[in-house]
Subunit: 640 residues, 2 copies
């Protein structure tokens, strides 16, 4: 599992050969140590010659080769089964049970001395915050309609039963149980935030037959909003009624049942061939990572498992992937995009780019060509999955109106994740976006602060003293310099002054403004991914952990507009790369530093990274055993 060297897939562009070489650190999910793997030159080179590629794919896997040994020796096999079942159980038992002395949460009434932190949401951001919060001087209350954290990157696997839904969830009470911090959880949905009075209004959504208050109010001192986003229908008619989304566990379960329903329905004796083809037409709208992964999973499910049980269906199944832009996976490197499009073509997945959905009825999807005159055409379908983007939840929409943030997609926060326009409220994850301050806005303040002698000009020495603070406060400066291949801001100033000796550079305000005028073009919003949310959660928890400490000894950059320093360093996102599983044990990985890897080795890397990132040993064991079960028995097709 850890031999990542072999079978790395090289990607060659027409003329130039990119070295797919990536020093990568990751944690092995089982041995718990850090391995340093180097994806080196592999045995498979991806060229235009796709027949060679196909041949390589058909080769036996190492797994299959090993298994033959066991198949030939049945008593060895049986011994091993016994050992496996009993040994595995024993080990895991001994690993997991030492905590029998249950750490009961003393859920006292909110202690007057403790600051009350209310966390809305148990997704990536909220859970990451809770996991990293270690300061016991807070009284934490978590409010979410889901009493568990779900490992959403594996949702597409759940839609086809590669992984069971329960294997990727962990009860939030379990996550916070062993902490020293007081954490209480309420299963309810926040429907109103009152930032003026520091209250949140909640409603429980139980369907049991009981009386008692349905609504309650929680007071807070700090509010952490991490409610995530909802699927975005862009107000296209019929989408909400007829399409499946892929945001929650329940969505994935529903998709799984619908796929089986379609196959069962298409098997009924009363249907014509045409009707059968309609029913077995699966349409995926949105060529992003989720849509692509779902289409690939579905293709594997149909071709590896379902055709065995529904042999007649094979010729009638069709999977269509609709994308409004010119290419699928357009946030990835173009080598990955090209590989994915080519692979899907080989697999028979119909990729329609430049096709914008304009209407969905219960029987047909209407699309409009983005180019070529915008022809509108319709296609009948059996099941449609909508994964095109994210929208704002109603509670956030209301809150934004309340605090004057209108016409926005998400809650705007500053670089310390504090919501703009209110006090002690933080926003993380998909429901928020960081409103990075522009250098241009602060240019006078920066100049004044740097010009210590008030001479009206900045010398290099003066400038160098505030350099680090500028780079820390305005990360776009660093990015700009990196892109222009400059070493420091001084080079930038020098650049704007022409050919002078570096040390003698001296600029006035206008020259300074001119030199930094292009810097803000580097600003971009962070993507709405689990990685961003998790980093924001752990960043904020770290701030909360050191709140008092940093109050006394601020560690942030200079305040250019005010006095003193900022309490904390601003949030800085670190990108660790991104995967795009393409089905058939092929995965594309884009890693920091323009490194790209496609093929089976990336699939194993994907397995390792995802297994190690899972939230608990329980989910880790379950997901790994699910993968094993899929290898051995295939995916289940019971209609439950």
């Amino acid at each position: 599992m850890w031999l990542l060297k072999s079978r790395t897939c090289w990607v060659t562009e027409r003329t130039k050969e990119h070295k797919v070489s990536c020093p990568l650190k990751y944690t092995c999910p089982i041995l718990g140590r850090q391995f340093r793997s180097r994806l080196e030159e592999g045995d498979l080179k991806l060229r235009r010659d796709s027949s060679e590629l196909r041949k390589s794919m058909e080769k036996m896997t190492a797994f299959q080769r090993f298994s033959r040994v066991f198949r030939d020796n049945s008593s060895l096999t049986k011994m091993l089964i016994v050992f496996t079942v009993s040994g595995g159980g024993l080990v895991a038992y001994s690993e997991a049970k030492p905590d029998n002395g249950m750490n009961a949460i003393t859920s006292t009434e909110a202690d007057g001395k403790k600051k009350r932190v209310v966390v809305l949401g148990t997704g990536w951001a909220g859970t990451s915050f809770l996991k990293n919060l270690k300061n016991s001087s807070y009284d934490v209350q978590v409010i979410s309609p889901r009493n568990y954290f779900a490992f959403t990157p594996l949702l597409p696997s759940v839609t086809c039963g590669t992984v069971e839904p329960r294997s990727i969830v962990e009860p939030i009470r379990n996550i916070v149980r062993k902490k020293k911090v007081d954490v209480r959880y309420w299963e309810a949905e926040c429907f109103k935030i009152d930032a003026d009075n520091k209250k949140v209004y909640c409603r429980s959504n139980f369907t049991t037959n009981l009386d008692g208050e349905e609504e309650f109010v929680v007071d807070y001192d700090y509010l952490v909003i991490a409610v995530g986003a909802r699927a975005n229908t862009f107000n296209i008619p019929g989408v909400a009624e007829n399409c499946h989304f892929l945001k929650e566990i329940e969505d994935a379960q529903r998709i799984r049942r619908t796929v089986i329903d379609c196959f069962e329905r298409a098997s009924l004796p009363s249907l014509t061939d045409e009707e059968r083809k309609k029913i077995l037409h699966f349409v995926v709208v949105g060529g992003g990572p989720t849509g692509v992964e779902f289409a690939a999973e579905l293709h594997d499910y149909v071709n590896e498992d379902l055709v065995k049980l529904y042999p007649k269906a094979k010729d009638s199944v069709k999977i269509t992937l609709l994308e409004a832009t010119d290419h699928i996976l357009n946030m990835f490197d173009k080598r990955i995009t090209a590989f994915a499009e080519e692979k899907f073509q080989r697999d028979g997945i119909d990729v329609k780019t430049g096709a914008m959905v304009v209407k969905v009825s219960d029987k047909e999807i209407s699309t409009k060509e983005v180019k070529n005159g915008g022809n509108v055409s319709s296609m009948p379908y059996g099941m449609a999955v909508w994964s095109t983007g994210i929208g704002t939840r109603p509670v956030i929409m209301n809150f934004m109106t309340q605090i004057g943030q209108t016409n926005r997609r998400a809650l705007a926060s500053d670089e310390w994740l504090r919501v703009e326009g209110c006090d002690s409220v933080y926003a993380l994850g998909d429901c928020a976006t960081i409103n990075q301050r522009k250098v241009v806005e602060d240019i006078c303040a920066i100049f004044r602060k740097a010009d210590k002698d008030n001479s009206g000009t900045l010398t290099v020495k003066e400038f160098q003293e505030v350099l680090d603070d500028i780079c820390e406060r305005y990360p776009q400066v660093g990015l700009y310099l990196k892109n222009r291949q400059m070493n420091s801001l001084v080079d930038l100033l020098k650049d704007s002054k022409g050919d002078v000796v570096k040390e003698s550079v001296e600029v006035d305000l206008e020259e300074f403004r001119l030199a930094l005028s292009q810097v803000d073009s580097q600003m971009k919003n962070l993507p709405a991914t689990a990685q961003v949310a998790a980093q924001q959660g752990s960043y904020l928890a770290d701030c909360f952990n050191r709140m008092e400490e940093c109050e006394k000894n601020p560690e942030g950059p200079l305040r250019f507009r005010g006095e003193g320093r900022h309490r904390f360093r601003p949030f800085r996102y670190k990108h660790f790369g991104q995967f795009a599983p393409l089905g058939g044990e092929q995965t594309a990985a884009q890693l920091p530093g323009d490194w790209v890897s496609i093929g089976q080795s990336s699939q194993w890397l994907w397995y390792s990274v995802y297994a190690s990132k899972l939230v608990s040993w329980r989910t880790r064991a379950l997901v790994i055993s699910d993968w094993g079960r899929r290898f051995i028995f295939g995916r289940d097709s019971s209609g439950i």
Copy 2:
């Protein structure tokens, strides 16, 4: 796992000590061999002294002792995990995958030469029939709203997450895939049977957005009805609306979600203590094996898992078991009943016997005392599970009216499982009951047939010639003799004649009628269990397999009312015993021959028997891994 010797629990009645000694054959689910275990004298004697019992229960299990070794040695642990995951996967892969050459079912249009067999239902009876049908001269069509077989004895385990729902189901297409018989499956519900024209009318129940026929008609030559039963509300008001049933996988999933919902709801900050107690009051109606097992499972779930996450709830939880008769588990030996009642009392499960439910509102259950003047009282509840008995499905009700079987609980069939009053229709499982022919009805015919010389009297010689046929045709005769401790029917005749020499017994019709008059009292209906249904399915498949062969050479008993012999031997049920899991790793087992075993060894026996009885290697592996997972990580409490 296979050391059944230790810890067998002895049951002693007040004066007499029953030896709980049971030679029992069972198949080991993993090694696949037959073990002969002898439940011998164990180390634990169940006496009135319950403190001794409790102490023994608290002892460390062997599992825990082993696990300590591993806990002390972490590198051994890690090595073992790696080995376990990889080795186990390899072995199972090599065991399971040899069948890649998929056996496609050629679903040709119903071949004119082949007899069309239509099977309604994929429960125990239907699946057992399909599994055992080997004669390829049939064209089989299966119609059921569930495309899978569910191993229902594990349903109570599913309600609390001890076993996952998907682990106990196997797609019916998978079960019939490797057969040489042509089997086609339609996911639909039969809503009308037309026995005159040999047609069944079906309706698919898909909720997908598709056109196409919702209803279709299937012709048959033989019809096998195995649709099972539905839960019986006895028309008590409010039961259908407010109670959970426990018949289907979906029921178990719903119960699991509701239990968690109750705990989450009871944790909300806005509730009073009284409301909290209401919400955490779980009522189980029906003290049969299912109700008792569910109550025990729920108790374990609450006390082993949920109290860790909901520490405040511990004192508010209450489980009540309502039973209308004087004792729970009244179909079991009274030693088991006594043990179960005592154990539940110790566990704090409130067993209310003699309490008949008369009304269920959304907040309260009203019960009436069967004795003591029939006082009616009400109790508030959070969740109620109804498991009191079975009722007739609408399609069977209609069919019974059609064929003149009114005012019955189930379809009446003869001893060959043929539905009375129509042709080529068979009924198995819970929807049917065998209408055993009474000896008294046929007494003249028997006498005439036996009296070969038409002398008006039967000699012992004449009688002995038809003896085996009588015993085979009328199984109540054998039971009666066994109960009266007689060796043969001749003893019975002799008994009625008084003190004569055996060989000289000679009886006329009246004396013969008198001698056999008590015999029919032994007749009783078979219980509605999985065991009966499965045996009926395999019996009928066996008949179908040898239909032509036995047409030529009948193997059944003499036809007393007609000419010749019956084609087949009549169906005879063989009871292999019954389990009643009581929670806390304690199970009661009642085995044939008045053998009773209670305790942890019976629990292991239960594990072994159930694992071996599971329908496929896949489900077996999954259920065993679920049990292992429960040992290690406990049960999950996510609200999905």
